[in-house]
Amino acid sequence: MDKQPSGSEQIKELVKIPGVEPSARLDPWWWLVVLVIASVALLVLLIPDPYRRIYTFVLDGVYVTIGVTIVAFLFILIVGMIGGLGRLSKNKLIYGFFTLYVEIIRGIPILVQLIWWYYAFPVVIQGIGRALNIQALIGYQANAVAMAILGLVVCYGAYMSEIYRAGIQSIPKGQMEAARSLGMTYFQAMRYVILPQAIRIILPPVGNEFIALLKDSSLVSAVAVADLTRRGREFMAATFQPLPTWIMVALLYLIMTLFSARIVGWIEKKTKFER
C-alpha cells in the first residue's frame, strides 16, 4: 500500500505559530535577592565577630528549615488536592468530612496545632495502645521532626484545600462537560483537563503559601526541632548578643523567602497561557 506522507510528518513541516513570547529580560527583582546575599556576605567578611560566628552556628538550622519546609510542602500539595476535590464531592460523607476538617483546622492557631501533635498526639497513641494492649503503641515516643512536619501538613493542607477548590471551581463548567461528552470519566477529566488548568490559575496563591510556610516553619522551634530560629535563640543565649543574632537570622530568612518568590514568579511566567 502506497503511503502518503503521514499526518505526523506533515505536522512537522507546519510553520510554527509564533506564540506568546515570554520576556527575555531578567525579572529585576532578582537584584533584591542579590542585594540581601551581598549584605550577609559583607557582614560575615567585614565583621566576623560576631557575624561570622553566628553564621557558622546557625547554618545547620538553615538546612533544617529548608528541609522541613520542602518536605512538608510536597505533602501539603497532595493533601490540598485531595481536600479540594473532597470539598467538591457530591458524596455527602466525603463532603462533610473534608468540610469539617477545613473548618476545624482553620479555627485553631498553627502553634497550638504543632504543640498538640508533638505533646498530645503521642498520649492518644499510648492510650490506644493501652486499650488494645499493643506493646508497640504503649511505648510510642514522637519523633520531633516527623511530628512537626505532620502538624504543618495537616494545618496548611486545610488552607491549600480551599485554594484548590477555588481554582477548580473557576474553570468553566463547559470544560468538564466537553471532556465528559467525549467519554472521559470524572477522574480522567480532572487529570487531563481541569486540574492542569486549575493548577496554573492557583500558582500565585500556592506560591504565597510556600513563602508563608517558610516563615511559619519557625514555629517548629517550639517542639524541639533545631531549625534556624531555635539555633538563633541558642546562640543568643550562649553569647548574650541578641541584636546581631536576630539581624543575621532575619537576613537569612529574607534570602530564602525572596529567592522562593522569584522562583514562583518564574514558574508563573513559564506556564502562562491566555484564557
Partner: protein
C-alpha cells in the same frame, strides 16, 4: 488510572507513618533541658553540643545512679508542658522547686541555691533593689520564678518575654527599667556588658534548683536522689560552681 492514584496515596501515607514511628524508640532516659540559660545549659558554639553546669551534674548523677541519658533541647514553655505529660523522664534546666510545679511533676532533692536579683542599666540611680521598683517597667522570662516574683510586687509594670535574652536586650535599649532573673544568669549578662549593666540590691529570694522527674516514675526519682547524694558527698557541686560560675564564660 484511579487505582494508580490511590496506590501512590497509600505509599505516601505509609511512608509518613513509618517516618513518624521510627527514631523514637530508645531505652535511654530522656532528659529535657532548655539550652538557652547559660551557664547552666547552653549550646556550645563550636561543637553544637549541649553543655553547662546542669549537664555535667546530670551526667555524673546518671553514672552514679546506673542509667544512661540523652538530652532533648526544648523551649521552656514546651518543657514545662512536656514534663507534666511525662513526655520526658527527667528535666534539668535551672528549675526552681516550687509548690505549684510540684503539682505537675516530682522534684529531686535541691542541688543548688540561687535567688532572684534585679539588673538595671549601669547609669541608673533610681533603682537600688527590689523595693524601689514601684511604678517601673520590669521584665522577666515568662513562667520563671523571676516572673512570679514580679507578679507579687505591687504597682510594678510587668513585661513578660519568651526569652530572657530579649528582656536584657530591651533593658540595654532602655525600653524597660529592670530585669528580674536568676542570680547566676544575671551575672553572666552583666559580665558581657560591664559598662552598661549592673545588679542592684541583695539576692532577694531563697530558691533551690531541683531536677524534675515524671510524677509516676518513683523508681527513677530514687535513682536520681541516690546519685545526687553521692556526688554531693564527693564535692561535685563546689567543683562545678568553681568551674562554671566563678570563672565566667
Amino acid at each position: 488510572m484511579k487505582g494508580r492514584f490511590y496506590s501512590i496515596l497509600i505509599v505516601l501515607l505509609a511512608s509518613a507513618m513509618i517516618l513518624a514511628a521510627c527514631g523514637g524508640e530508645t531505652q535511654k532516659v530522656r532528659v529535657a533541658t532548655d539550652a538557652t540559660w547559660p551557664p547552666f545549659e547552653y549550646v556550645d558554639e563550636q561543637t553544637k553540643a549541649i553543655v553547662g553546669f546542669d549537664i555535667d551534674l546530670m551526667n555524673a548523677i546518671a553514672k552514679e545512679g546506673g542509667f544512661e541519658v540523652e538530652y532533648i533541647n526544648v523551649p521552656w514553655d514546651s518543657l514545662l508542658a512536656g514534663m507534666a505529660q511525662c513526655q520526658y523522664d527527667l528535666a534539668i534546666s535551672a528549675m526552681t522547686i516550687t509548690e505549684e510545679r510540684k503539682q505537675s511533676f516530682a522534684f529531686s532533692e535541691p542541688y543548688f541555691a540561687a535567688g532572684q536579683v534585679v539588673t538595671v542599666q549601669a547609669s541608673n540611680t533610681d533603682i537600688t533593689g527590689k523595693d524601689s521598683l514601684a511604678g517601673k517597667k520590669v521584665g522577666a522570662q515568662n513562667g520563671t520564678t523571676g516572673d512570679i516574683e514580679i507578679q507579687k510586687m505591687a504597682n510594678v509594670q510587668r513585661v513578660p518575654y519568651d526569652d530572657i535574652g530579649l528582656a536584657f536586650q530591651d533593658l540595654l535599649n532602655g525600653q524597660i527599667d529592670a530585669v528580674v532573673a536568676d542570680n547566676p544568669l544575671a551575672l553572666g549578662y552583666v559580665g558581657q556588658n560591664p559598662d552598661k549593666l549592673k545588679t542592684v540590691g541583695e539576692v532577694f529570694t531563697d530558691e533551690y534548683y531541683g531536677i524534675a522527674v515524671c510524677k509516676t516514675n518513683t523508681d527513677l526519682l530514687a535513682k536520681v536522689n541516690k546519685g545526687l547524694a553521692a556526688v554531693q558527698k564527693a564535692g561535685l557541686i563546689e567543683k562545678l560552681t568553681d568551674q562554671w560560675l566563678k570563672s565566667g564564660q
